[in-house]
Subunit: 430 residues, 2 copies
């Protein structure tokens, strides 16, 4: 993986990476990327070369950027959930980095510290951090957790022994006024914590500018999704997913630039009727738990010559960008924080009760993306999404929408079993 | 089970019980009670005959009382967690009934509706309700859930299809002022919901009287626990556990009367040096998830001629009564609700983060009860307690306190394996 790239070893050593283990990881990643990600795809948008570059140098250039930013006094803040507001982080000159893990490579470092019945994402993320094999984790000055699920809520108590940690309470019954008040108070407490970290004072101007930037990024991501409504679809599910995955840790300005280019190319493709699969291919919506890099398991099992994933109702999909500011009308921090709170409380995650709006979101996606079927995807031991998957399956079936529930983890042990089930499901759609 | 008891069948039929299934349950319960509960015990306090009677007629006389109360206009409110405040329920002439399930007998009715990775308590409780085999459930006019764990939070979305359901949000980071404010707002919202249900208006006088009554019950339960500090211990862990289990659904006035009698008898025993096990027996603290009737699994495996459980740091143990009102100084509903909130926020459940105070509680119990070892007991798939058990095990070991972690469910399949582990642990204490 070193052809043409700088020698990053001195940097990795300086930040305390376990070089031997990290080498093992870097040794397998290109093979996985080639076999699972690249080879099965045809006719990808040219603009995706940026994301290929990002994956190809995943622990290199971005880390060197973060290091430079740190040297200039910026703070790196690691997060594990989209409810930790980038708007506030970036307004205080922090750089927010999503630290969710997408491979079980790192589990060896967290296995003894966590219950066996912990979801793959938490095991992976903690393993990367505690095992010192994730340079992003190593760069972080502060980690910010939240209380969106039992597993993460209690995982912070493990993680805080290794890194400075702050927990933001996210409410449980989000439609109530008192929950909104709690969330606003928590956002304000977070601002205070970040002001302490950065030794800076938040201003309404900086917050508003940050909100506008993040909104711009989300708007562009939504445009990519909009373009997936076309048939033939101009971009694969895999490529759209990778765009989202990288958006969690790349520089927002560069993301805006690169996603703009991608949007331009996809618009051109649509005009010309160019797609990644032939017109009339079967169109699938995946809905459920997030898929962190390099988790492309379901997309790899589903997408094929005549089957494409056209939308993801996940944290690494529509939930990341769908709830946006209508308008940013406010010139005080108090007012802007309220607007931020309302944006986040507009996201329909299974961590809330009730969460009927998520089912409406899925139905809406099926309709507007003209989907042929839905895969309800859940990481094992993620109780909130497991419960909703059981319920939603029934509801979607009653509406005559083909649906399959898949509960899995990051291992490849169930691949052949999953392939059989998915093949049967797709066959049924024909 | 019908000798000398009224014929309850007409009542059960009237409230919609599945008589056939219910008969199967009643057919096995006396055998379980005799073999697991009664036969292994020696020299029990005479006052326990009340609790034997309660178990012997578990779905009979208390149900007939509830029915009579309903006929007089009272409302029956089912709960699943000690955070739903009895003080408020009883002040509004509701009768609070704990509906947690303690046997997997009922799982057949909930299995298809819940993820496989759901804890035994939730599976059991929902099964009893949905399968119409629990008369308490059938009597309930309203169920009140809370957001203490992911499993229950999402289970309410299943349950609400069968029964009127209200969910009270419990905060996640309880030591923060905004969490306290949320909880107070939620208690007030609960009052409004119960006022609607009962068509009554809460008064400060009634609330204060109710608080005093519940406090009295808790004070007496604490006295029973205090007496367990003696050696020989005057009451078995099983009997103390049963007292707690029944306190969740019996009439508080009768509980006060019966526990008073028990306290008197135990005090007499202590004076006379009478115990349920010989002086010098090994003394065990059990700490972890609640044990609902008829879950006596761990107590049955642990207690023997020279080993007694002297304290339970569980919801069916110290967490039920340990956090009490210092004094009830307030004459407005607002002030009284604050006092109630502070009492509940003083309970150290693993649903909160951080929850270091629970470890302090356990250490304190070990010290004051002169315990020889700790069993960290967790129901499988209960992530909050699983996480804490892993962490606490390390902490207790470092202090030189013998400790064993047991993760299990309601089945008897792992009994012999657990027995081997527990025997080895107890052997080590000698």
């Amino acid at each position: 993986m070193t052809e043409g790239k700088p020698d990053w070893y001195p940097m990795w050593e300086e930040i305390g990476i376990d070089i031997q283990k990290h080498d093992q990881l870097l040794a397998v990643l290109p093979t996985i990327y080639k076999e699972i990600y690249i080879d099965p795809q045809k006719n990808r948008p040219k603009a995706m070369s940026f994301w290929d570059f990002v994956v190809g140098d995943i622990h290199g250039i971005r880390i060197s950027e973060l290091k430079e930013a740190k040297d200039q006094g910026k703070k790196i803040v690691g997060t594990f959930c989209l409810y930790v507001p980038d708007e506030i982080l970036f307004a205080l000159d922090c750089i927010g980095i999503g630290l969710c893990g997408g491979t079980n490579f790192s589990n060896y470092a967290s296995d003894e510290l966590l219950p066996a019945n912990t979801c793959a994402l938490i095991k992976s993320a903690l393993g990367f951090g505690i095992g010192n094999i994730c340079p992003y984790f190593a760069m972080a000055d502060l980690l910010i957790g939240e209380t969106t699920c039992d597993g993460k809520k209690k995982a912070w108590e493990v993680l805080e022994k290794y890194k400075p940690m702050y927990v933001m309470e996210t409410p449980q019954c989000k439609t109530r006024e008192q929950a909104r008040e709690l969330f606003i108070a928590e956002l304000k407490a977070l601002i205070i914590r970040l002001e302490e970290l950065t030794n800076k004072k938040l201003t309404a101007e900086k917050l508003k500018a940050s909100m506008e930037k993040i909104a711009k990024k989300h708007e562009l991501m939504a445009k990519v999704y909009e373009l997936r409504k076309n048939d033939p679809v101009p971009i694969s599910g895999k490529d759209a997913l990778l765009m989202s995955q990288v958006a969690f840790y790349d520089d927002p300005d560069r993301e805006i630039q690169m996603i703009s280019k991608l949007v331009d190319e996809l618009e051109q493709r649509v005009k010309e009727g160019v797609g990644v699969a032939k017109k009339g291919s079967k169109r699938i919506i995946v809905s459920g738990t997030p898929m962190a890099v390099p988790n492309w398991k379901i997309h790899h099992l589903v997408e094929r010559e005549d089957v494409v994933i056209v939308g993801e109702e996940t944290c690494t999909g529509t939930r990341y960008f769908q709830s946006r500011f209508d308008k940013i009308e406010g010139n005080t921090i108090d007012k802007l924080v309220e607007i931020i709170a309302d944006r986040y409380l507009g996201i329909n995650c299974a961590c809330f009760t009730p969460n009927d709006a998520r089912l409406e979101d899925i139905k809406q996606l099926v309709k507007t993306y003209n989907a042929d079927g839905v895969i309800l995807y859940t990481l094992s031991f993620c109780q909130p999404y497991e419960f909703e998957a059981i319920n939603y399956r029934k509801e979607l079936k009653e509406l005559g929408i083909p649906v399959i529930n898949i509960t899995t983890d990051y291992s490849s042990e169930d691949n052949s079993q999953l392939k059989t089930r998915i093949d049967a499901f797709l066959e049924m759609l024909k």
